[in-house]
Symmetry: C2
Subunit: 347 residues, 2 copies
DNA sequence: TAATAGTGCTTAAACGCTTAACCTAGCTTC
DNA sequence: GAAGCTAGGTTAAGCGTTTAAGCACTATTA
């Protein structure tokens, strides 16, 4: 264990006081140009690294943010983590991670642990529909504009509208919506947006969680039946479900997008490499991460940061439509007697 | 900003010294049962949370580990992060994340930043083939047994053998191997294992990165041609590539596993929900995470932890074969004249 | 020429915790 | 009944930083 040089090492070697060294390096107090130079050089020479602990103790700020992520099934995990890490890094902040395992109680404990560890503020990407309340610590919640405690998020509704319009423009009028769980505001908002693009008409909806409760985990979604009944597109609220849909349809011998279109959400890593590549909506993660951090920083009383105007973003950060191969023109409308013509492989 | 109670608050209210309170709560010094009780109760009542900064400054230990992850394209990211977070949490350690963006230099910087932030040790999941050297700080590298600086990892070679045997037992003898990049020890080890299962014979190999350099990113891998020439299975070194293969084959009208089998590696989150669900190899992440952390802890000079016997695990932590639907019996050997019979959709 | 202002630095306290060293009873022991 | 233990505390120093306050000059102003 090498022992790191500290301020007093520098001070001693230069015959000045510790305070002066501190001032010189932070650029705060009054130090002559030459001495300042000398101190900085010496610091460089010794490989001085400030002690965060010492600084934290003195200033009451750790310069560390806590990030609480729902669980391993949150497919956006890496993107959240890395974007926040990056945005934090730009401001000289570190990111401590916590895992809520998708359990509301664990989520509370995770927040607590991070606060104990000295996090100046917490960013929470909550479990579907979980509330994050009663904390007197600076917190930013990334969820969905319609969620009760939401701080900042993408415009999931608007994203739904965009993808709905896209399908409509391709001539689809028999669209089935696929979600995981109706308790998630993110999902219900996306879904509502899609419906809005179809003038608010009710669209047949598949909730995977309900289905799996009935038929067992990882069960087929029975999409082929919907196609037989005339569905021409599946609009999924996540690329994960889109992937599931695409493979299930292909596995059954249907062509995507030839026979039926599929769209997703979130532009997950692999969405562009599968065949067909998935048409999807992408969040502006970078911006969301920056806003979340700024929001926390503005809550720290001594902050030089002004709160981002969240009101202005009440609808959320706009999403971007990424058109790829999984969505195409609706097949010419099949007459109802024509249904049997859809090729379906038995196994 | 609520101001947290500290040791002296407790001490003052109870009329004892700060040292006694510290001793009582840590259970180290000598404190009578009754007073100990009283102190713990008071701490509870006031909602006392120890200050990590104070403790860190005093003990020289931050109880925080740094975790450096390659980049967003590292599909195992969430699993690494959460397993390490969990294993660390059990020991009262926090996890600070760093991002190397897949760049060796950035990786060095990330390590440095984490050390500056006071991390007691660093766990690195390096970019393919990157070396992690010259650090005097406790470090654990999770890579592959054959990598130069590897500390602990899964037995990728053994995993390759297992999946190779699995395919062989299913009657496959024309296997094509799919990897991303030959510079990754993880990948080359897996690949070598697969070959070993086929008595070391050379198997046709697709390196995706080479292919993409030629044909552009996200290009088709041309797998159908291999099938036409008699290949009955694709053994991919990652589920990501397996997914790409499955969809590409299905998209072309081939049945998986009816016409051709596909296997992956890593049991990524979605591997079980696609159709067909992907046969894969799973690492024992929990164990790897624990060993990595233990290894770091044992390097701290005052440690009560003894170093895990890494020599014993020189081959790596065994992997587990997860058989699902994407691998099946090899189709009856087609005579070479029979090749045209393979149904291939044009688009 | 005396008050004022600015410059460049030092002193000293504070942040919250840990820990070695010390003190004081009360108790044993021979 | 003096020496030695032990239990149960206290004192005080130290970890590395920041920062308000102070001090000794020199330069400026009226």
């Amino acid at each position: 264990m090498p022992t790191r040089p500290n301020l007093s090492d520098i001070a001693r070697q230069l015959g000045v006081s510790v305070a002066t060294v501190s001032n010189a390096l932070s650029g705060k107090g009054r130090v002559s140009r030459e001495l300042g130079e000398a101190i900085r050089n010496k610091a460089e020479e010794l490989g001085y690294i400030p002690s965060v602990a010492g600084r934290a103790l003195s200033t009451g700020r750790s310069n560390v943010l806590g990030l609480v992520l729902a669980d391993i099934n949150q497919p956006l995990f890496p993107q959240f983590a890395l974007n926040i890490e990056e945005a934090a890094g730009e401001l000289g902040l570190g990111v401590l991670i916590g895992n809520s395992r998708g359990d509301p109680e664990e989520q509370e404990r995770a927040i607590r642990r991070l606060i104990e560890r000295g996090a100046d503020g917490i960013i929470v990407v909550p479990r579907y529909g979980t509330r994050v309340t009663g904390h007197r610590w600076p917190i930013a919640v990334i969820d969905s504009p319609s969620s009760p405690d939401n701080t900042i998020s993408a415009d999931h509704f608007g994203g739904g509208v965009a993808i709905g319009r896209h399908l409509r423009e391709l001539g689809h009028d028999r669209v089935v919506v696929v979600g995981l769980y109706s308790g998630s505001h993110v999902q219900t908002d996306r879904l509502a947006g899609i419906k809005a693009a179809f003038d608010g008409q009710e669209l047949p909806t598949i909730w995977i969680q309900d289905l799996e409760r009935e038929r067992g985990p990882n069960c087929p979604l029975g999409l082929v039946d919907f196609v037989k009944e005339g569905a021409t597109a599946f609009a999924c609220v996540s690329d994960l479900h889109a992937l599931r849909a695409v493979t299930e349809l292909q596995h059954a011998g249907l062509a995507v997008p030839g026979d039926v279109s599929v769209t997703g959400f979130d532009d997950l890593g692999w969405a562009s490499v599968v065949a067909p590549a998935i048409t999807t909506m992408r969040m502006d993660m970078k911006r969301i991460a920056r806003l979340a951090i700024k929001h926390i920083l503005s809550q720290l009383d001594d902050s030089k940061f002004e709160a981002p105007d969240l009101a202005e973003l009440a609808d959320g950060v706009p999403m971007e439509l990424i058109i790829r191969q999984s969505s195409g023109p609706a097949p010419r409308t099949r007459s109802s007697t024509d249904q049997a013509a859809v090729p379906v492989r038995s196994e």
